[in-house]
Symmetry: C2
Subunit: 171 residues, 2 copies
Amino acid sequence: MEKKCSILQIVGFQNSGKTTLIEKLIQSANQSGLQVATIKHHGHGGVPAFELNHKDSVKHLNAGAIVSSVEGDGVLQLRTNMMNWDLKKTIQLYQFFSTDLIFIEGYKRESYPKVVLLKDESDLSLLDTLTNIKCVVSHVELSKERLKDYRVFDINDEENYLDFCLSENEG
Amino acid sequence: MEKKCSILQIVGFQNSGKTTLIEKLIQSANQSGLQVATIKHHGHGGVPAFELNHKDSVKHLNAGAIVSSVEGDGVLQLRTNMMNWDLKKTIQLYQFFSTDLIFIEGYKRESYPKVVLLKDESDLSLLDTLTNIKCVVSHVELSKERLKDYRVFDINDEENYLDFCLSENEG
């Protein structure tokens, strides 16, 4: 069920107008109702500087590409503004990488198992807004009554909470 | 044939130690032979500043994650240092986005159809190193004899070469 995707390389020495041509091709393709992705090779060796990546990716995305990346020396940097991008799409995209684990920072409203970090008593309010709390890691000793429903670790009890976090996850 | 992938969220207010905990979780998972990806939500509204993305992605990758991304306001920025990353992997990854076209800047040694940009006579040597040349776009008038095997456009003949590039591609 793969969609047919045409591939076209744009090559030339430095300052031959590659980026300008790609911008025009993107615009022209968009006018024909075609969606475009771009890939740039960072040909000067080494990992691409993130400023360069930003500059080129933004140019391609501004011209109308929905995804743009720069690859150099085995590091890929990608940027996409595909409509309605959300966490679900990122997780789907990550299937490509076949990792064993995905750690997500933030997205409080999502329903995946959570480790909740509390730095003081006033952070306890956070617990009321979350679902699927796996454990709590706290910087200070907190009221046992308030935390009775949760598995609680002290921030210094590193070995135990790392083990717990890694052994208890469900996808 | 999807590999089982566990997902764990790390939540907490600012300065509660989320990034530090994620770094420790990555290191601990790696020690158990597990591969890790990370996703960070840019929670302050708007498109994530690329400096921030860089800083966080590099921290996660340095800790041992093979892919890391920041998403905010519908824009995803991803960075991966997965072993032996190459153009083929990028193209495979791009299947996720289901675009009609992929424009590739550079990668001269690859064998996809190519538009070759020439800015002067001395650039002609480039032609000898390339395969699958679709057309040539030149900034100057060049020897017809040297270019007799190619479809050649003048850089100012924009409408024609854009049409040609977009109509003749094969995936």
